[in-house]
Chain length 659, copies 2
């Protein structure tokens, strides 16, 4: 009894711990694999071919910059990206792309179980290091969220089948439970991708969950903590840090720099608008003309990317490594070994300055074009890191331009020198905020990435400007994830969009035909229940009192129903099922899993209000009642379909009137 | 037209900017005043009596530790606390205490306008520096939230009366608008109290708002940014920093320290449980026996506090200053001038170690007792900072104990020395989390206070343990703010409490007598509308179609109604008022402010569901309908009253059965 109590108290924690551990372990392995594959393109370890540059150190042989190194670079790139697209398309096409849009829909109540299958998880996890190592302009955070959510879903489904958990009286809605696990694992996904546990928590609030509950936030916190601790323990980068870069800025900022922070914010806004606008065009084009040739598309993209990238310092480098170099303060003495190839700090030699400016400008523009074409192609691909890289190169470019106009000797005396590394940092933050429309999350992530506490106000200022521009001129649907949801017509109710229901009421949009229900006043055969389940596609089934005018008694979720029915001990098809509050002997009782206070709406409720109920309470299904009797059902799909046809029809009739 | 569009777009930002600026300015002035008053007790500036220690520097004369200094210390303390309690009790008794509980209720929909009046603001703002300077164990964050919310409320009410804003077609619910301003200003209040803008945003999410909207989070972000920027610009501490302390830890943590992090987390949990348990007893005692002698109570408290504090290094010091010393790493060379009086780092001299241990132990225990007695007395008083101070002394104590057992020479060689400053830091975090039950907010605040990025995982681990202990053994109502809400029987629906409605339905709890409404089918005299407003106490008034069976047409908020009625241009009492969708000439039209899709519930809806609607959608009022007709009203007060009597009655009848 007392053990059961403890297990009940700890159940969530046990599941979240296992989920977090698995996510951390996966991330650690993938980090190592990514680094190894990326290094392969640039050199090899003499002592042991299986070691990457970090672990090999002295014995590392780096290919010289020559036609020979160039060819190796391209061949490896093409092999990696081909492998990535091959395994994804062959085994799990759903594993391509970012995945954040789909997860937003799933969390908001959309049933899409195929998206979280083990095959999808494996292909996303294996394809991601290949995609990144190929040199394509892709990031790992979107795919990380996707594989983390797969892990969360698979483990929680598996673990609740164990007998020790089964014996407990849960008394909670399993759909809400499942949803919370998904939200928590999405937090852990971002946390391990960036090494930013708090950033993950805020991401799960700001981007993933469309409603906010304190307990969910706490679960996200716990899961991120476990995942990042595991990652830290594994120590994949061999430097005791969970992030690839950590910057220390010694100098404070000056008030006269505020206009520059604003310019960087404006850049972020414009970046976001340009990328999402043109990316949609590319996605459209791809859907129309390239859907039969996905591998060829990836091949050509990789070839072009490698051909161009090899000759530019920042495009060739791994994006996180590049950002580390860009973020660094000029006074800092410890530089990465590769940064000897470029001297960003010497602004006195004109040739060096113009070389740097051209390199950075080229890197910014080309990276933008590559990102537009790459995001959405048939490999696992995120857009956060490429956006940050663009912002970083632009910010550093701006920093160097300003350095030219500042007399370095005087400013060093009165300590008013600007710090171009900070601008790179702020540029990265603004670009990330510009493309995702996230604000608080971006500040916290940038913060955790670098520990640049002194620059929290500048970061907030830049992102504030980016947000203002996005609000006024940006895509009205929101960040890139929302834009993709809109483009793909996913059944997602967004607060960004204005839905026009005129004055229509529930009775106009509800489904009243072929509604199936379970009776509360009499018990029925398990066989009949199975038949009802087969006939009825919805995720929950109403329970009504058939002997009392079909009054609504409760609702049961299909998952909970199936869990009890599919239990091996209930293999007698003629057993009676009881959907009453009072458990009966000799019956299969469902009272533990029935929700006896389901969300109902009156038949004359305005659809605007129903929409806000869906938005804020995220039910899977709404029961429509009149006088306490069940009259129909309403899902968010029904409402969206209704709205679509309503406005479509209007549009057509308006068109007809015009001609 | 285009100007109007811009004003409409910028309206929120203009208001939030003014609110943020005012909050920042107020905080800056209060910081200066607090520092000046605190310094007065310890010495004075020879060159200019009006300068505090920081601004005076060389000319500062500090009273020696003697009976003479002791008396000055006590007299100043008593004068300050007497002044604080005098002005609060005389002019605005509502300004005493913390205020967070009340603001939670106000934001959740409870009407309590007296709490945000200008008198309350002034007394809170003036009383706070006096209370802190008196040496009592009080913090400034609760009162900061209160005065910030007062500022937000006063400014937004004032500004929307300006003609330039009036001319705009708002088309938004003014109660929601007002609520958002309150949430944003509470964020700014925490932000300026701690110098932690992101911490403020998270506080407003985790503690204040009981529902989550992205736009509200953004408004909190913006308002905090403006407030903290203003504070930084004012530079009250004269060091370019917005927080009193910033720590740099050079050493990383080791895995073997995890058990210590767990012990610190356990301390936080126990601390929270003890303080909230005994504080409730004290508050009860105060209510029963001391309600007529509030000034005497404050006098005795101050006298005792000063008598004890003067002889302990950490109790005598300002709490934030004390924490700065406690948080510091031993290797750091720059120490505050006062820390020469105590050498926390020398663990080799036995006498020094035992002196330190006793000092810290004494400080921890006495501070806990003082906090229990002080929180809730009739001066402006917060509990965050005293809790952090307790945790810091305990953490440092634990650190010194561990240092004794660690061979300092060996550990310095292999760089495995523990850092006792970190334990002080973690102890402060855990105690703060223990008393408030906040998690994410505390991590972010601690982070922004110190910039100790390396220690994010240890912080998260400690707070995780604290949270687990609170969940299992802590007060079931939640943090100290929720406990106070429960104690004071505020009409607040908390997710921590289990409400028992049995199977009762809306018809059992609703108000159906003396319901007043406005007609949608005919226009009525302004005189009659005024009479209806006087008769009817609720915050919103239903609008129904009297000629069609009282069908519900919409709802209008009292505030919006009053705003239009009280406009000087509408001084003709016999003008007709029209509550229809279609504006009419020669009538006062209210269509812009009527919500035509009000939230309604069926008369047979279970109260459990209604509760969750109140909780998640925070309406002020629910309309009860049957067949589309208005049958009654339901506010959260009605539900809570009903639940109270339901269980009271049961309790009585059970008792009767027993005897």
């Amino acid at each position: 009894k007392s053990l059961n109590n403890w297990i009940k108290f700890l159940e969530n924690y046990i599941i979240l711990t296992i989920v977090g551990l698995t996510i951390g372990l996966t991330a650690g392995c993938l980090n190592l694999l990514t680094e190894y594959l990326s290094n392969l393109k640039l050199g090899y370890c003499n002592s042991n071919f299986l070691l990457n540059e970090n672990h090999c150190s002295n014995e590392w042989f780096e290919f010289p910059i020559s036609i020979y190194g160039f060819i190796i670079f391209i061949i490896y790139g093409i092999i990696f990206s081909f492998l990535a697209s091959f395994i994804v398309l062959k085994f799990a096409p759903l594993a391509s792309g970012s995945g954040i849009s789909e997860i937003k829909c799933i969390v908001s109540g959309f049933q899409y179980n195929d998206f979280l299958k083990i095959k999808v998880f494996l292909m996303k996890a294996i394809g991601l290091p290949l995609a990144i190592a190929s040199g394509l302009s892709v990031g790992k955070e979107g795919p990380s969220v996707h594989y983390a959510v797969c892990i969360g879903s698979l483990i929680s489904q598996g673990i609740t089948k164990l007998s020790i958990f089964k014996s407990i009286d849960h008394n909670k809605d399993s759909t809400i439970f499942a949803k919370n696990i998904l939200i928590s694992s999405s937090a852990a996904g971002v946390a391990v991708a960036f090494g930013s546990p708090m950033g993950g928590v805020l991401f799960s609030i700001e981007e993933i969950s469309n409603f906010f509950k304190l307990s969910t936030m706490w679960e996200s916190y716990y899961c991120s903590l476990i995942a990042v601790s595991t990652l830290q323990f594994l120590n994949p980068f061999d430097n005791g840090k969970i992030v690839l870069f950590e910057v220390k800025y010694d100098n404070d900022w000056n008030l006269y720099e505020i206009p520059i922070f604003i310019i960087l914010g404006i850049f972020g806004g414009i970046y976001g608008i340009i990328i999402s606008k043109f990316n949609i065009k590319v996605v459209n084009f791809r859907k129309k003309y390239l859907s039969s040739l996905p591998k060829l598309e990836v091949f050509i993209l990789t070839l072009l990317t490698c051909l161009i990238s090899y000759w530019n310092f920042f495009l060739k480098l791994d994006m996180t490594e590049g950002m580390q170099i860009l973020f660094e303060e000029c006074s800092s003495s410890n530089k990465g070994n590769r940064s000897t190839l470029i001297d960003l700090c010497n602004v006195k030699s004109l040739s060096n300055v113009s070389y740097n400016i051209l390199t950075l400008l080229f890197a910014t523009l080309i990276r933008m074009i590559l990102t537009i074409f790459t995001y959405g192609c048939k490999i696992p691909a995120g857009i956060f890191v490429p956006s940050m890289a663009c912002g970083a190169t632009f910010g550093r470019l701006l920093g160097i331009l300003i350095q030219i106009f500042q007399d370095q000797d005087t400013c060093q005396l009165n300590k008013s020198c600007i710090n171009p590394g900070v601008y790179a940092f702020l540029g990265a933050a603004s670009a990330l905020s510009g493309i995702t429309h996230l604000t608080v999350t971006v500040v916290v992530i940038m913060f955790e990435l670098t520990g640049a506490l002194k620059y929290i106000l500048p970061t907030m200022i830049s992102i504030c400007i980016t947000k203002l521009i996005n609000d006024k001129y940006g895509n009205k649907y929101g960040g890139i994830a929302d834009v993709m949801i809109e483009f793909n017509n996913f059944p997602f109710l967004t607060s960004h969009k204005h839905y026009n229901f005129e004055d229509k009421r529930v009775r106009d949009a509800m489904i009243s035909q072929k509604i199936v229900y379970l009776p509360s006043d009499k018990s029925i055969d398990l066989k009949i229940v199975n038949k009802i389940l087969n006939d009825f596609e919805y995720s929950s089934i109403p329970i009504i009192n058939t002997s009392n005018n079909n009054k609504i008694n409760g609702i049961i979720s299909r998952l909970d129903l199936l869990k009890i029915i599919n239990d091996p001990i209930n293999n007698n098809q003629s057993i009676q099922c009881n959907f009453n509050k009072l458990p009966q002997n000799d019956c299969l009782n469902f009272d533990r899993v029935i929700n006896f206070s389901p969300l109902t709406v009156g038949i004359d409720t305005p659809l605007d209000l129903v929409l806000s109920l869906f938005h804020k309470l995220s039910p899977n299904i709404l029961l429509v009642e009149y006088n306490g009797e069940l009259k129909g059902l309403l899902t968010r799909k029904d409402i969206l379909r209704f709205e679509y046809f309503l406005n479509q029809y209007q549009y057509n009739s308006e068109k007809q009137e015009q001609f």
